[in-house]
Amino acid sequence: MNMTYQVIALAILFSSMITGFIIFRMQGMKLAPHFGALILALIVTLAALITGISAVAVVAAFLQVIVTLTAYTQLYKILQDNFQTAPGYGAHLALVTMLPVLAIAGLLM
């Protein structure tokens, strides 16, 4: 399993903590599954890199995809109707949307 993709995923998850916090405030500080998934994915990805255990890496990849899915399910309604404010969510969405590709690449290559 090529850990490079997981390293990139880690960098993204780390950066997403900040962008995530920013959109957390925009949404009225509502704690939601997405933020939980994000923190969990970060921890597991870090664990995968430290331990080198592939099973952990697989769980990490799975969680990374969950992060992306929950981001969209949580933000769908907002993105649907808030054209002007949507750019405020742009940074975070851009980051998390990268995760599935990296997760799959990490698994296949």
Binding site: M26, G28, I78, L79, D81, F83, Q84, A86
Partner: protein, 281 residues
């Protein structure tokens, strides 16, 4: 309840005789009575007050005297709003005040002088009076007397006595703080007796989509849809810009309870009405 009896031109001892008869004939023994008399006529009224079980307070009302007969044992209502966060204090005081009759009094206490300053602004805007201020221990205190807003004489629009508030909201569910501001300000304005209209445009129409407001939550307030519902039930008019709604695929049937579609002409008409104070979020 406070009954007002104008007894100008009646000298003592007749003013006292009249006062005695009025107090004796009251339907409600807990009723306060205020007599408006000429200075000098109050002689003998204190005996009347004692006789019928009232305490008497005399105060000046321009060139007349106000003699207030309060049934003994009745105390003025007091509320302490320390610790409540804005707009809590204004809303609490507004609610208690609306339950009082004209002339009845209320004492408001708070550890924060700024909170009382805010409450004072709300109270005077709705026509009631601040009778006095002071401190009691670590609390700042104001005494409020309920009164009704006086009608402005007809044809006097040049005087900026704006009783209506137009809240223009171009931000929506994607910006919780701004979205909440729409209804928090509405709530305060309504409690101050203003007539409120909300105009949602651009992202603001996202608030109007059925079900969307339910997903927005600010830590200090109830979910956005509850606040919106409360305001609609309190008589606030809500419009959503037709164009912005259409652009976002929101049609009439997608609108939440209490929201109507409106065009640019409605918007301009509201903006141009001098009786509206306009706020943009």
């Amino acid at each position: 309840m406070v009954k007002t009896v104008k007894a100008l031109g009646i000298r003592a001892p007749n003013a006292g005789i009249l006062a005695a008869n009025v107090l004796r004939s009251l339907e409600d023994p807990k009723e306060e009575v205020r007599f408006i008399v000429n200075p000098g006529a109050e002689t003998g009224m204190d005996a009347v007050a004692r006789r019928y079980g009232y305490s008497m307070e005399v105060s000046r009302l321009e060139k007349d005297l106000e003699i207030r007969m309060v049934p003994s044992g009745k105390t003025m209502e007091e509320i302490d709003v320390t610790g409540e966060t804005c707009p809590g204090p204004v809303l609490i005081v507004g609610e208690r005040l609306s339950a009082l009759a004209v002339g009845e009094r209320l004492k408001v206490k708070s550890a924060s002088a700024d909170t009382l300053a805010d409450i004072t602004a709300a109270i005077t805007a709705s026509g009631s009076r601040i009778l006095g201020e002071g401190t009691e221990g670590d609390r700042h205190v104001i005494t409020v007397e309920k009164d009704e807003k006086k009608e402005m004489p007809q044809g006097n629009l040049s005087v900026a006595n704006r009783d209506r508030v137009l809240i223009v909201q171009s931000n929506g569910t994607g910006n919780a703080e701004r979205a909440y501001a729409t209804f928090i300000f509405s709530k305060v304005a309504v409690s101050m007796g203003k007539k409120v209209t909300i105009f949602l445009l651009m992202d603001g129409v996202s608030i109007a989509r059925k079900g969307s407001a339910a997903g927005v939550k600010h830590p200090a307030f109830p979910p956005l849809d509850q606040l919106m519902d409360e305001m609609v039930k309190a008589g606030v008019t809500m419009y959503a810009c037709e164009n912005s709604a259409a652009f976002r695929g929101i049609s009439e049937k997608d609108l939440a309870f209490g929201v109507k579609l409106a065009g640019a002409a409605t918007y301009i008409q509201l903006l141009s009405d001098p009786t509206y104070a306009v706020v943009n979020f």
